[in-house]
């Protein structure tokens, strides 16, 4: 194979790709071609440095990122060889290790990963007085686990909960990593085996590692220190989950031999957008010096839009999207909502995204899109197993996977399931799901979700596919369910938008109290820095057009906000944007103020 792909890299990217020995940190600003660099690096390791693909481990934060890397590597190396590397999220890689090794810790290989709901039931049994208390406990326990050996003592019911988990041969989501840590710390021979196997480790989004993930990476890193981490301190947005941006900033202290390379040329966004993003984040103190730049065409100015309230905000976004598409129905042409001769351009619904700080902001937007009949989807980033429909199905699937196990199911259903088990080696997962829907009346949405997930196992009998399928349901996210053929406007939080890019981005709710979000009272200096990074992430999702919206009036969780623009907006220099004010009610909602009619 040729190394032609090297020609498509810039000098810094090429340096990162060709650095094959010893620790390496790639400081990669938003849109600087990080994934391309990582995947080319893997291809280079295999093709040029002669590394056995099976010796490579790549850890990502999302299944989507892992999937994208696999796709690109398959493109570079070919389907077959790309299968040999271990590329996955922290959780999926750990689950895989545990399926092999967990017996030494006193669990069976077929341990189950509990859903939220099951965790709550377990805590109730362990002594929580009611569901609310169980939920509160769960939150503390998860926070405790993610900080790993924090100074503070264990939260209430912790040991009871852990004992109950083990007794059930079960683990929760956080345990997946903690159990692997325990395994490696207790059994050095097992650790050595994996260290020997994973001689080249790549870690994406290094700034977002929480302490257990950080420890895992460092345990696994062998004496050669072939560890390559990629990240961007300016995109660290998971402190609330225990992530420590300091890990990132201290990499060189952890690995004094480390080489540090910076990717600063942004290929994603217009220079206007890149500049604005830099101006916002450069107010932070906790960061690593870098200078994002772009040599693309200057691009459209950013539009800052003041609206009356969240309803008007949603309405304006919808009508803007209709305009960008040159009208989505005859109505727009008949009523001159879209000007005749306006070019429908190049966009599709999926080229547009609406970003916001809190999930609660999604509802009025969804309503406005629904009313306009414009396809949209809310990427909540929610874990699949939190969806109510999954709770209904999982016990049955588990029972089918292992009828020996106790299952809390009505006898009638058990009997039907046992009858179903007879064709476990004949029929497919799709067939099984169809049968299940007959047994327990699955609603349309559930059925669709399950079928979408099952479509990954087209040629296997359900008997062999079921354990993997169950794990998918445990580790999957809602976004795994979307039909890839359907183009839709994406609604998502700025957190969920990390790693994505869209030609057109609307960020709404840019008001004091919401951005930076003040959970209770005044955010601390650290929190403000984190919120600023979050805004930076939001801005850098946009490739061509960026709209920033703030409202004069908004009720959040029943309380009115002050209605002032976010202080972050002041950090963007005036030359980069144009501001408009949308007046209320006096005229039809979609008409803009003529004096300010700059659009």
């Amino acid at each position: 194979m040729s190394l032609e792909f090297l020609n498509e890299l810039n000098p810094q990217q090429r340096q990162a790709v060709c650095h094959t020995q010893g620790p390496l940190m790639i400081v990669a600003g938003a849109g600087t071609g990080k994934t391309r660099t990582l995947t080319c690096r893997i291809a280079y390791l295999v093709r040029e440095a002669g590394v056995d693909p099976a010796n490579i481990l790549a850890l990502t934060f999302t299944r989507r990122a892992a999937w994208e890397m696999k796709q690109r590597i398959a493109h570079l190396l070919g389907e077959k060889e790309s299968m040999l590397q271990e590329i996955g999220t922290f959780h999926s890689v750990c689950a895989k290790i545990l399926r092999e090794e967990i017996p030494v810790l006193g669990y069976d290989r077929d341990f189950v990963i509990l859903t939220d709901e099951e965790q709550i039931d377990l805590l109730r049994e362990a002594g929580a007085k009611n569901r609310a208390e169980a939920r509160a406990c769960l939150k503390q326990i998860s926070a405790f686990k993610n900080r790993h050996r924090a100074e503070t003592g264990a939260p209430p019911l912790f040991s009871e909960y852990q004992a109950a988990l083990k007794q059930r041969n079960a683990a929760d989501f956080d345990d997946l990593i903690l159990l692997v840590l325990r395994l490696f710390e207790t059994y050095p021979e097992i650790l050595n085996r994996y260290m020997d196997r994973f001689r080249h480790i790549l870690v994406d989004e290094y700034q977002d590692l929480n302490p257990p993930q950080y420890m895992l990476v460092h345990l696994l890193t062998g004496p050669d220190q072939n560890l390559c981490v990629v990240g961007d301190a300016d995109q660290a947005i998971y402190a609330f989950r225990g992530a420590q941006v300091e890990n990132f900033l201290n990499f060189q202290e952890d690995y004094p031999r480390a080489q540090i390379l910076r990717l600063e040329q942004n290929y994603r966004s217009s220079p206007v957008i890149v500049k604005a993003a830099e101006q916002v984040v450069s107010r932070n103190t906790l960061r690593m010096e870098k200078r994002l730049w772009s040599d693309a065409e200057t691009g459209e100015r950013i539009r800052i839009m003041e609206v009356g309230d969240e309803k008007q905000e949603a309405g304006w976004i919808v009508s803007r999207i209709e305009k960008l598409l040159g009208g989505t129905s005859m109505f727009h042409h008949d009523t001159d909502r879209v000007q005749a001769g306006e070019d429908p351009g190049q966009y599709s619904f999926s080229d547009m995204a609406v970003l916001f700080r809190l999930r609660a902001q999604a509802r009025p937007l969804q309503a406005a899109f629904e009313q306009a009949g414009i396809p949209c989807r809310f990427l909540s980033g929610e874990r699949l197993d939190r969806r109510p429909e999954m709770r209904q199905v999982r016990p049955m699937l588990r029972f089918l996977a292992d009828p020996e196990k106790d299952a809390v199911l009505p006898a009638m259903i058990k009997a039907s399931l046992i009858a179903l088990s007879k064709n476990r080696e004949q029929s497919s997962l799709q067939d099984l799901i169809r049968e299940l829907s007959g047994i327990c009346n699955l609603d349309e949405a559930t059925l669709r979700s399950l079928k979408a997930m099952a479509s990954h196992y087209p040629d296997q009998t359900w008997g062999s596919a079921l354990p993997f399928f169950l794990q998918d349901l445990s580790l999957g996210r809602e976004s795994d369910l979307f039909d890839p053929r359907a183009q839709a406007v994406t609604l998502l939080t700025m957190h969920a938008a990390k790693g994505l890019e869209f030609p057109v981005v609307f960020i709404c709710g840019l008001e004091r109290g919401l951005m930076p979000y003040a959970r209770d009272g005044n955010p601390s200096a650290d929190e403000i820095e984190e919120e600023r990074r979050l805004f930076h992430v939001g801005i850098t999702r946009a490739m061509k057009e960026l709209y920033l919206l703030h409202a004069r009036k908004r009720i959040l969780y029943g309380k009115p906000l002050p209605g002032e623009p976010s202080p972050f907006l002041k950090d963007i220099e005036e030359a980069l944007f144009q501001a408009n004010i949308l007046q209320k009610k006096s005229r039809p909602p979609q008409k803009e103020n003529p004096q300010l009619g700059l659009f």
């Binding site: 005859m330 053929r485 839709a488």
Partner: protein, 428 residues
């Protein structure tokens, strides 16, 4: 048997559609018009689909009829009464990008039976929202819609709707596909027909050799009952879904699909180019002279159907392929009456005269095409008889439509009207 079919209409669940488009009203109006087979429209909408299930009963294979209890026979003149059949139909607006360009294509779907329609609905509800519009907007490539349609039943049919209109059609100026094959790719061979739309007629379509293999069909795309059959199809085959499907797929020499009833294309909203807001109507030559830009506002001129046909055609204007189907160009009867009275088409007087005409002479199709001119004169008036004669002979004047503005029909010259009343005076 010979019958008229209008397969593309909309329910009240579609945007800007009259609440009068109920199944009983459709049944009634189809009889007034002379239609035998009518599309239900909008089967993708859950509420309308439920109504179809409740109010219609299975008739011949794949077709339905209005249940007795819903009929309004007493309101229909005896001269027009007939048996109406429905076929499951829907229109989907596909808005997506392909090769870096926005594409907006309307597609007409005909479903084999309720089960096939339900399968399509299930698949599409995973793609987008079917509830907010009877003509749902989906971010789905037309090719994938075709695949979903054919997977639901290989006997389903997808037909590119009003194939030439500038904004929402496969060949229209803004969707920028230059052939059916470019849009539907590997599956294009599953498409038996294209809908020519109001602003084009068969001779315009004959100018593209690439369209020779498609049956050219026409439908009203009605949003209110009175608009039914302004375009329609003539079949001579069994009254059943499989027979209609066979007729659409048949070789051009077969005599099961007889041809179409057409609008005068000039009357269509997008025949010429222009700018409605600037009052600019331009012929394709004029538009080219303006370099495609409106001389008044400087924005792009909306390129109409005639212009687009000229751009894509590979044959001269008067070319007629062998075995091309015949067609009849008509003007809706209510418009003719309105022209006779020189009043608006929606006026009470027109409605009254319309019903009087049908009661005396039979359904609208009969009046427009078959009733002897002398008979019309005797039963109704000399003026109406003369107007119908002129329409049949194509001797009318039309200011062509452009940029969403319907063309203006003139059957009589101003000097033929008496100055005093503005009414017809030529025979009095």
């Amino acid at each position: 048997m010979k019958f008229i079919a209008d397969l593309h209409i909309h329910s009240p669940y579609s945007r800007s559609t009259s609440p009068q488009m109920t199944l009983p009203n459709l049944d009634q109006w189809a009889q007034l018009k002379g239609i035998t087979l009518l599309g239900t429209g909008d089967f993708t909408h859950p509420a309308w689909f439920a109504e179809i299930g409740n109010k219609l009963a299975p008739a011949e294979e794949g077709l339905f009829s209005l249940k007795e209890s819903n009929r309004k026979d007493e309101e229909i003149p005896a001269s027009c009464r007939g048996e109406i059949r429905f076929m499951l139909s829907a229109e989907v607006s596909c808005i997506y990008s392909r090769d870096g360009q926005t594409r907006k294509v309307h597609n007409l779907i005909l479903a084999r039976d309720l089960a096939s329609a339900a399968k399509i609905n299930e698949a599409l509800s995973g793609i987008g929202n079917l509830k907010s519009d009877g003509r749902p907007i989906l971010g789905l490539d037309s090719r994938d819609l075709l695949q979903i349609t054919m997977e639901a039943s290989p006997e389903n049919i997808l037909i590119p709707a009003h194939a030439w209109t500038p904004h929402f059609s496969v060949l229209g100026a803004f969707s920028r596909f230059s052939s059916i094959e470019e849009c539907y790719g590997d599956l294009a061979s599953a498409i038996p027909a294209i809908e020519t739309g109001l602003s084009s007629d068969p001779p315009m379509n004959w100018r593209l050799s690439g369209l020779d293999r498609f049956t050219l069909i026409s439908n009203s795309d009605a949003h209110s009952p009175a608009k039914l059959m302004r375009e329609a199809n003539l079949f001579d085959t069994d009254l059943s879904y499989p027979a209609v499907r066979e007729a659409l797929r048949a070789d051009r020499n077969s005599k099961t699909f007889l041809g179409t009833i057409e609008f005068f294309p000039e009357e269509g909203k997008y025949h010429y180019d222009g700018h409605r807001s600037c009052g600019l109507r331009s012929t394709p030559e004029q538009t080219r002279g303006y370099n495609g830009l409106c001389p008044k506002c400087g924005r792009k001129i909306v390129v109409g159907v005639l212009h687009r046909v000229e751009d894509l055609s590979d044959r001269p204007k008067d070319h007629k392929p062998p075995a091309a189907k015949p067609f009849q160009s008509l003007v809706p009867l209510q418009e003719i009456i309105a022209e006779v009275f020189n009043v608006g088409v929606g006026s009470k007087r027109v409605q009254k005269e319309y019903m009087r005409t049908l009661s005396a002479l039979g359904n609208e199709y009969t009046v427009l095409t078959a009733a002897p001119v002398t008979g019309i004169a005797q039963a109704i008036s000399n003026e109406l008889a003369e107007a119908v004669r002129r329409v049949r002979e194509g001797k009318i004047h039309i200011d062509p439509g452009y940029d969403g503005e319907y063309g203006k029909i003139k059957i009589f010259e101003p000097e033929e009207r008496t100055l005093a009343s503005g009414q017809m005076g030529l025979f009095t």
